[in-house]
């Protein structure tokens, strides 16, 4: 290919398009980037309720700040081109035949590659440093919080509700998710039937609930308050209604709640299968057609046919 010069060969001494574009771009970026980082950043989701949430907020802030000049660059360029490089009415001639420009192409490739590789390094660091960043790490997590004092909470998903088991409190099972402040939490997420996803939005925790798999995610709550838990993987009829609310309490409040619940639930806990990381749905009631034929019905004897519009 012809590697001709792309240096301005337009009307002589009229305007330096490259310089004007560069100035526009630099000025716009210099104004917008700090705005994004300083003003918008602290308001970005998912907030700062936990270590993983604030990590994700920081991540989104950085990405938004880096994206700003890229978006501005392209938009400004197109706006400029459409303003200044329109064909005049009646002008049927062609524009200068520029086939390419080796230096510009090289600079572009090097620059984009550098940004991309830097982003990958940044993302990897932000993933490893805050113990998996709140994402599900599978049964053998390799990035763990730097403490031995970890509260274990098992999240059991089924169509269409979450239940929570606290093995350190007698293996009690409850429909309420309550967490203590400033203590590392290990979620062991599993499912009894189809794939669900445990998404504690304000905590910045998201982990798929797979049947027969223990999916581990870590976080440390940093503020008290309530948070939303939603199912984030389409799981059938009432997927849209599969949500509940959790609570982050002070440590003493949590202890009081846990002991009270443990006592209140003692009878039910005794009837439950022993705590395990996953539950075999041929033992624990479950599942779809393949197992329905064995005469087994769903959770608590209440298996919902996928077409059954009954309220869960």
């Amino acid at each position: 290919m012809a590697e001709e010069s792309a240096s301005p060969s337009g009307p002589p001494a009229e305007r330096n398009d490259g310089l004007r574009l560069a100035i526009l771009w630099v000025v716009a970026s210099a104004i917008c980037c700090p705005l994004v980082y300083i003003v918008w950043g602290p308001h970005l989701p998912p907030g700062a309720m936990s270590s993983s949430a604030s990590g994700q907020q920081f991540d989104l802030t950085v990405l938004a700040t880096i994206a700003t000049p890229v978006v501005l660059g392209v938009l400004i360029y197109f706006a400029y081109a459409l303003t200044f490089w329109r064909a005049k009415a009646g002008d049927e001639t062609d524009a200068p035949p520029i086939h390419g420009h080796t230096r510009i192409q090289l600079i572009w490739i090097v620059a984009t590659s550098t940004i991309v590789l830097a982003l990958a390094v940044f993302g990897t660091y932000e993933l490893i440093a805050p113990a998996g960043a709140g994402g599900g790490e599978g049964p053998q997590p390799i990035w763990k919080p730097n403490t031995s004092n970890i509260l274990q909470v098992q999240v059991i998903a089924q169509q269409w509700a979450f239940t929570y088991r606290y093995p350190q409190y007698g293996g009690m099972e409850t429909t309420q998710l309550v967490l203590p402040l400033n203590q590392a939490v290990q979620f062991n997420v599993t499912s009894l039937d189809v794939i669900h996803d445990f998404w504690a939005y304000q905590l910045g925790v998201k982990a798929d609930a797979n049947p027969g798999v223990n999916n581990v995610a870590y976080t440390t709550p940093q503020h008290t308050g309530s948070f939303v838990v939603r199912c984030d993987e389409l799981c059938g009829l009432w997927h849209g209604a599969m949500y509940d609310y959790g609570q982050v309490m002070s440590v003493s409040g949590f202890q009081a709640w846990a002991q009270q619940t443990e006592t209140a639930m003692a009878k039910i806990t005794a009837a439950l299968p022993p705590y395990a990381l996953t539950y075999d749905p041929t033992v624990v009631p479950v599942l779809g057609k393949v197992l329905v034929q064995l005469g087994l019905t769903g959770a608590g004897g209440g298996f919902y046919n996928p077409n059954d519009p009954e309220q869960p």
Partner: protein
Amino acid sequence: MAIEIQPESAQAPGGGEPGTPRTARPWWLRPGWHTALIGAVVGYVLGHLLGNFIGSGYQQVAHSNDNDMAIVLGYLFLILGWLIGLGVFNDLVRQMLGHPIPHGDIEPETGLARYFRYTLDHKVVGIQYLFGMITYFLTGGLFAMAIRTELLSPSYHVLSPSAYLMVVGEHGTMMMMMMTSVITGPLGNYFVPLMIGSKRTAFPRIEALSFWLTPCAYVILLSSVLFGGFPTGWTGYAPLSVQAGEGMDGYAIAFGLMGISMILAGFNLICTIICYRAPGMRWGRLPMFVWAMLTVSFLFVLAAPVLVGGMYMIITDRTVQTAFFVNQLGGSSYLYQDLFWFFGHPEVYILALPGFGIVSEVIPVFCRKPLFGYKVAAAGMFGVALLSFFVWQHHLFDSGIDPDMRPLFMLTTEMISIPTGFIYLVALGTFWKAKIRLTVPMLFAIGFYINFLFGGISGVVLSDVPADVTSHGSFFVMAHFHFTIMGGLIFAFFGGVYYWLPKMMGIKLNERLGKWNFWIMFIAFNSTFMPLFAVGELGQPRRVFEYASNLQTINDWVSISAFVLGFGILLFLINFVMSTVVWREPATGNPWRSRGLEWQVSSPPPADNFENIPVVLSGPYEYGDPNALPVADLNPPAGVISGALAGAGSEG
């Protein structure tokens, strides 16, 4: 190199001696869509009866009273009956029986009837695909309107939860499976031979078959509504898809069938592009659209088989109780996710690359400049296509895969933005000091670059694992891929139709209505999907009918914008119908003054595309170069072709 030099009829490929001319039969006795319909109905009934016969003894059928075996066999026999009725196997049977294959029809068909038959002319197939794809797209669009109607309120009010899931599944699947061919089918099949200077494609039968499978897939997918739809969305995740009711069978069969259609279309285009280029059509002169079709076709043939396999396993899991995807019985639900996304991610680029091709084709014409960095553009497409096979696990970042995998797939995913950036470099360079003409195709091309920019940037957020923890599975993802597919692919498709319809039909679409169409679509599109990024980050998962009540205002805004967007697309339909049926403003030979080889023949092109095989003399984008040769010699003097052919073998 297999270059056809005989002025052979485009409608009569294949071997065999010219047969004895057949006597003319009335149209209703010749195979066409009406006989195909009869075949399909008969096939379904037969298959269903067979399935009842086989499956009635199954314990599961007796227990649950639904026999997936009967449904699946009904669908499979329906497809077979449809193809038999269409006459797909006629020549095959003739050949097997030793009869000669009649070469073409008695007289080359020119009437409207050929569009409803198994016609082997690539231009007819292109038009068939065009009308088919517009129908499929509008059907999917209607489902989208229903979704946005339901989401006007934070609880369910119009659709029941099961109807909502059905609509979501139908919308998603209709768009993701049928729209894979939205550009490759109509424009690819129509223009690749014209652009490379060939009279036909390599495998006209396979090409026609690839189209005629799509109405089948469309009907089967829609028919699952009769069984209550399927609750899985377009991804069909097991074990939910194993648990689901009979509507799921329609999903698996239709998607698998569309996979087969993609494979067929892909092989045809690959062979056409490699083997049927005219003399002088060197790789360095190939139009960008043809490069896009080549890379997409490779993705078709390499990715779609995995989909077909996955759908096959779903079907056997559901009918004969294999357990590929049932964890408790030794299968793995991860297996399905891996199979699906090993197809699904290349598929996303199957949807993006044709758009790259069209805009790269359109902008030099209306900038009146050569394409900036031709090799960079081709490399960008190849880079995207190649990398697309190494990123699929980013859909599984939170699913509990081996955590070691995540930095690796984060890297590969982010690397895709390098070749995608090439496409932008090419665009920016081409616009530099151009003489821009803001025609409708050009507007759609610019709309493509702006929409796809936001799609690409949000993709970087999703590839970053920590940021993905918030965004995964939320409306953010949904907004992201609508920006790349709806804002990218569909805008490019509309641009392509506005650009090439004068060539296909000799009719120009109304320019004024086209501008209204573009501006309403562009503004409404951004007003619909831009807020959905926020909706997702604020915690609304995909595919839910209930959402937080504080998100109602923004959801209502989105819904109303979506209705306006629907109106914008309706304008396209109105323009299309009015321009082609009522106004019929004739387009002269080359209304855009394009250098493309396809524009050098009359509009619409003659039956054999080129009277003689042209000799390509220079590249298609040499605008503004006073020394550039014309793009091709359409009537090369005798001896030139044979001379060029002698050199062609070594030239490659």
